[in-house]
């Protein structure tokens, strides 16, 4: 890339780099706090204050949370529903978004309006439960994937992304004899990798954070994802002691809480760096056009 070497540009770059670095540090600090507390001994935490580096290292909280297989088991459930669920999401959403991106399609506005309407009005928890139950999805992991197969928000924004793709590119495929499904999978999707990565990420994070539907739809707690556990640990720790008839255990709840947060958050945090290469500027578009 050609570098512009004017003074103005240099000042701009310096300010820009410094500012972004500061913002990035500001963003990561609390997570460092969470991480640090999870590795700190309970006694140290009891003294209070902001901990950014454990003075007395302790693995007690991690030993505690790994003392049963619940955490690992629910983590596997989470990974399973996240991977499979996101795949279902992307297929269903792009299948629907692509035709809706064609402005000549009859009935398109009506459908879009109907979709938009569901963003604002919904029947609520109980009627939805009845549908999920009628389809025999309750007590299966499908209940965490199918009822949310398409997000209206993602659909509308993805439709908008598809609309930006120049028609010329699609036409060449049509001349090659592809039908619309072929155009979508051979031309449009490869051209929309940044969008796919984005919505894949949105969906994946959505699946990862599910806890309410799991409790609602699934009675068998061995099928619950990790967020159910996380929620319970956080809530339990925030309610004060004094109700129990026995002493609280030796371990400071805060450190355990933080350890669970770390364990439940790291996997989904790792998704983004892997997707980043698809955000590289205009790769596909440039090459196809050139």
């Amino acid at each position: 890339m050609v570098q512009d070497k004017t003074i103005g540009n240099r000042i701009f770059d310096t300010v820009n780099y410094t500012l972004l670095l500061l913002i990035a540090l500001l963003c990561v600090m609390p997570f460092i706090y969470v991480l640090a507390v999870s590795f700190t001994s309970p006694a140290e935490v009891a003294k209070g204050g902001l901990i950014l580096w454990p003075k007395e290292w302790s693995l007690a909280s991690y030993r505690y949370i790994f003392s049963t297989n619940t955490l690992v088991r629910s983590m596997l459930v989470s990974i399973y529903i996240t991977v499979l669920g996101t795949l279902i999401n992307l297929i269903f959403t792009s299948l629907m978004a692509y035709p809706l991106a064609k402005t000549h399609l009859r009935g398109r506005q009506t459908i879009l309006l109907a979709v938009l309407f569901t963003m604002l009005f919904g029947g609520g928890m109980i009627p939805t439960y009845f549908v999920v139950k009628a389809l025999h999805l309750t007590n299966t992991l499908w209940s965490l994937m199918i009822p949310g197969a398409i997000s209206a928000f993602n659909l509308i924004v993805l439709k908008n992304f598809f609309q930006q793709i120049p028609d010329g590119l699609e036409d060449s495929a049509r001349i090659d004899g592809c039908n619309e499904v072929g155009v979508l999978f051979r031309i449009v999707l490869p051209l929309s990798l940044p969008a796919m990565a984005t919505f894949g990420l949105f969906y994946a994070v959505g699946h990862w954070n599910q806890f309410f539907n799991a409790i609602l739809y699934i009675n068998d707690n061995t099928k619950w994802p990790i967020q159910v556990l996380l929620r319970e640990v956080v809530i339990l720790a925030s309610s004060s002691i004094g109700d129990s008839t026995i002493d609280s255990t030796e371990i400071q709840p805060l450190t355990i809480r933080m350890a669970v947060i770390v364990f439940a958050t790291i996997p989904i945090l790792l998704v983004y760096p892997f997707l980043q290469k698809h955000f590289a500027k205009g790769v596909m578009l440039g090459s196809v056009k050139g």
Binding site: V2, F92, T118, G122, V157, N160, I175, A195, T198
Partner: protein
């Protein structure tokens, strides 16, 4: 070939002028687009089954819903809950607080992810860019309980880190978490801190679609960075910005219950109590399903009006809008 296949037939105006029967054209269009319609089917089924079939639940707002009676046995009460809601003495205050907070959000929060992603877009070291991107997106995964907890450690008057620094400099402490005048500032800055990085993701994807050749051409023409930004980058993501703005308006009245609730104190409730927290308080002594549903419908209707209005306006200005 494609020209005659698509462009003319797609415009109803052209059909009408051709003088043929409209139904004939409709059928022809549908046959022509059969693949597209087929692709729509799973999605349409999805929305019907999971969104429209349960929609009867909306009737709850017009009943005295009781779980053990269900939707068909619970007594109908018409607009009783709406009447109660509108005649509450706090209605005015709640409405004002909700709207002001929403406006603050649109003004101070909404543009920031765009600015941040444009800043990141100007970074040339790919590694640094990835590094920054990864870090700014982390706070999204920190729950509100933890965020509010961290803000407490920083801002409280009892050994709060920032207040201690403030005390060293000015000799005074500010009760950021208690004073009503600081409430909105705290709420917005927490939202910014937590969600701005996450908000950049979608704009970065939009920016990735910008054709690099345009920049090169502009550079050859001698356009500086600001002009490139103004004439190439921004127009490229304009439609995404507009779409997101319009969709955001749909949730205009949603204030983020958990966040607000955690920040409410007796001394800031006069500016902090919003519809979402009010409904929660009411529901604490009685799960007033119907009443909550009525408030929800009120919020949604406002959202719908805003979305449709904004979309209409966008179309006036030649934008694509939502539909």
């Amino acid at each position: 070939m494609k020209q005659e296949m698509y462009a003319p037939a797609g415009t109803p105006v052209a059909n009408a002028r051709a003088g043929k029967s409209k139904i004939g054209y409709l059928i022809k269009d549908i046959v022509r687009d059969k693949w597209l319609y087929l692709m729509l089917l799973p999605g349409i089924f999805y929305f019907i089954i999971f969104k429209y079939i349960p929609m009867y639940g909306v009737t709850m707002a017009f009943q005295d819903y009781k779980p053990y009676l269900g939707f068909f046995e619970s007594p109908w009460v018409g607009f009783k809950h709406f009447e109660r809601f509108f005649s509450e003495p706090q209605f005015g205050m709640l409405f004002r607080n909700t709207v002001i907070l929403a406006m603050y959000n649109l003004l101070f929060f909404f543009p920031l992810p765009i600015v941040l992603s444009l800043m990141m877009n100007e970074l040339r070291h790919a590694k640094f860019k990835n590094f920054v991107q990864t870090l700014v997106y982390i706070p999204h995964f920190v729950s509100w309980v933890v965020v509010v907890g961290i803000f407490y450690i920083l801002f409280t008057t009892e050994n709060g880190i920032l207040n201690e620094i403030l005390y060293q400099i000015t000799g005074q402490k500010i009760a950021f978490l208690l004073e009503a005048e600081w409430f909105r500032t705290m709420i917005i800055s927490q939202s910014i801190w937590k969600e701005v990085g996450w908000g950049t993701v979608i704009f970065l994807a939009a920016l990735a679609g910008v054709d690099l050749q345009q920049y090169e051409a502009a550079r050859i023409d001698g356009a500086g960075r600001w002009r490139q930004l103004w004439h190439i980058t921004l127009p490229a993501i304009r439609s995404t910005i507009i779409i997101l703005f319009i969709l955001r308006l749909g949730n205009f009245m949603d204030s983020g219950f958990e966040h607000i609730y955690l920040m409410l104190t007796p001394t800031n409730r006069e500016v902090g109590d919003v519809f979402d927290t009010y409904v929660y308080t009411i529901g604490m002594t009685q799960a007033q399903y119907s009443y909550s549903a009525a408030v929800g419908i009120f919020k949604s209707v406002i959202g719908l009006i805003l979305v449709l209005g904004a979309n209409w306006l966008a179309k006036k200005f030649g934008e694509e809008g939502i539909y």
